[in-house]
Symmetry: C2
Amino acid sequence: MEKILEQTLLYDFYGELLTKHQKQVYEDVVFGDLSLSEAAEEYQISRQGVHDLIRRCDRTLRDYEEKLGLVKKFGETRRLVDRIHELAQEYERTGDGGCVRKIEEISRKIGEL
Amino acid sequence: MEKILEQTLLYDFYGELLTKHQKQVYEDVVFGDLSLSEAAEEYQISRQGVHDLIRRCDRTLRDYEEKLGLVKKFGETRRLVDRIHELAQEYERTGDGGCVRKIEEISRKIGEL
């Protein structure tokens, strides 16, 4: 996965578990427009300090994912919802009741993720 | 919600975020058969220490729920999956294609939780 996409997903799911300070710096540097040097000036820490904070946040976010796996679950849910969408379209075309039974089965799987 | 049910759900979702020691004691006392005194002897800590550990774990688990809301999401997902099940049954009885469209809509909602 591309690094920024991975960071976005992880931050989406676990960002709330970082401290307020970590969140501010992380957002400014990773998703915002601040360079390490600019963030260093903004937050009155060293450039190296900003760099370390970002790495530490990345590691923390990955640790949470390793333990809770929400990003993975989210991907699976999306895949199953897409499959339901396809089956609903197939039903529209064919009127085949088998599609509806498959849809129900998939929705159960989602409930068990 | 009954306390033991709340504890079970919270532990199910966030238990992995406790330390190994916390998990052992928590499981033995809350879900297992050990009394505070028995756990105190087993883990060589005071009875009060066991009591505090359980309270601290409960607070930690609730804090995670406050930040991530996974138990709440889980409840909503289950509710929507049940609704899909009802609609699928209605479709079986009536053959009404409108049910399928509603099912698809609900599955989208699940994907957005």
